[in-house]
Subunit: 344 residues, 2 copies
Amino acid sequence: MTTARQQGPGATIYSVADYAGVSIATVSRVIQRPEVVSPSTRQRVLDAIEALNYVPVGAARSLAVRHHEAHGLVLPELSGPYYAELLMGFEARAAELGQSVILLLADTKSDLPRAVRQLATRVDALAVFGRTVDEPSVQRVLHARKPVVVIAGECRADVESIAAENTSSAAQLTEHVFTHGRRRLLFVGDPDAAPDIASRYGGFVQAHRARRRKPADPVRIAFRENDGTAFADRMLAGEHVADALVCANDELALSIMTRLQDAGRSVPDDVAVVGWDDVMTARYVRPGLTTVRQPVGELGRLASERLYELVRGATVNATPQVLPTRLVLRHSCGCPPAGISTLP
Amino acid sequence: MTTARQQGPGATIYSVADYAGVSIATVSRVIQRPEVVSPSTRQRVLDAIEALNYVPVGAARSLAVRHHEAHGLVLPELSGPYYAELLMGFEARAAELGQSVILLLADTKSDLPRAVRQLATRVDALAVFGRTVDEPSVQRVLHARKPVVVIAGECRADVESIAAENTSSAAQLTEHVFTHGRRRLLFVGDPDAAPDIASRYGGFVQAHRARRRKPADPVRIAFRENDGTAFADRMLAGEHVADALVCANDELALSIMTRLQDAGRSVPDDVAVVGWDDVMTARYVRPGLTTVRQPVGELGRLASERLYELVRGATVNATPQVLPTRLVLRHSCGCPPAGISTLP
DNA sequence: GCGATCTTTGTAAGCGCTTACATTCAAGGG
DNA sequence: CCCTTGAATGTAAGCGCTTACAAAGATCGC
């Protein structure tokens, strides 16, 4: 079947073969394994490809090789540096492995299950962030035997999971605040909102236990700037009393800190504030925000790499992989200021 | 051909059809147009799908319908809020239109042309950011008749382009700085680095002309924090003299401002500093950074939407679409401070 | 100079869907 | 009661690739 087709609906492997006077098999070879084709034929085919502006239809290859050669990534959203960095790592590694990445942002989807099902249709494997795994639509993917890895979610026996260390760094951070003589610490953020946060609160509690102190209940608020500002206002109104705030993330820490300062409170003298993530702003505010740096990009890279291996038959890791984090001490915790900003 | 296939290599439309005792056509109908199938059969098929954990192979559909139902997006990178926001807008609109998005980050690719060619293989249309269009690999896509839209790039007759307004906002911003009595303005950033920046410098020049003043040559430095810090050091060393800095973006403005302050200079008293983009940090630093807000998400949404229309045969817009920007006046320009941070 | 061996190219059978068209069957009209 | 009509389903022909296998030269040893 030599369906001669020109321009119009786009060149195909047939039109290229015709033009070059070879069979479609040869065209395919020139593209996939040029070395097996004789130099002169190869050149003729290459010229034809050029002349016809041939762009192969990836779907046809996918169908033939029975692989999509694509990884899916489901993220809640993309504001703030955290997810962006994760995505960068993921994409970079995927590209190195020859895989495309199809992105799905969950928060903006009115019909997430549908979106996930549709995504599953076009990828060999899927990475999902946080709690999203509970989605029945994700379970379906699992049951269909497509590899899934969970990033920063709960560990489950049947799914591979990857996360940054939380508990012990949080304990360490909390203990550090104790060493500055603070005694009334408040954990700001909702442990139920994400497994990550739960672990951080766990560390907070653990550090208290180690000192035989009773940890306060967490202040359960959401993660956005407004929420932080509102909390600061309640604190200024005397609703909460504390000499140190251990915040679930930097957004919260920053908005709270700024609001308190604008109202005339001194950070860290009146109240110490620490965050989590080390966003860019953390090093620009004064005092610099003490926080925890996670290897976010590495998380993404690792996820992508594992997907690749799993697609190729690797067995799923039962125990979650945990990447180490690093305390970044600046001055909002009470550490003495130097004259110069602490750059990364 | 009733290739009965069970679990193992994944259920196909054939195994579902077998299981439900119908033809593959009926299965396909249940998925694509449920209403044309009788309720009882429909249910039987749905049950089969459920029982076998059927996930269709998207590539097969793409091949049959001759559409990938996917849009490609080529971005330089993803650090900072700018590209992330663009991507969010793009993805959101694409999803609304039923299109997947395949992301390609250019900066990390050692063989970009290859990556673009590979991307082109799997999408119906492509949006590329900035100068990347000049890539011959992108030209190839164009010649293959796949729609391409350029975001924030140069306008060219043959490609549709979308951008935020730059020149006149830059002129306005510059004029604003003049009204604070500043006379020695410096434009910090390299106009040759991106068309965007070139336009902003254009506005800077224009504002000078309007006042019959001679604009200084741009200070050609790159966009990252280090570059800003280094520039600030040179300024402190007396290498550059100015009472106002109009920076190409916020990253630059912030790093410069912070460095100057840490060295004891006062912003805006000694030198005013303004940026571009309105990143999160801009409202957290003190003084708040005066800057320009772009409708970045809208840029992304629009790009996605146009791709969709172009794929469906719309004719390309010869004149670039320009979205309006907004001046965000805070205090780094010399405007009098209020007590409270200027939130969005 | 002829068969064995290698290299290069072609043939053709899928890959798993969609959909135009054909078939079947029940309901209704005359 | 037969024929028309319409609803529901099936048949089969692609969609554009990859690749096992076959075929056809070219090369070489003896």
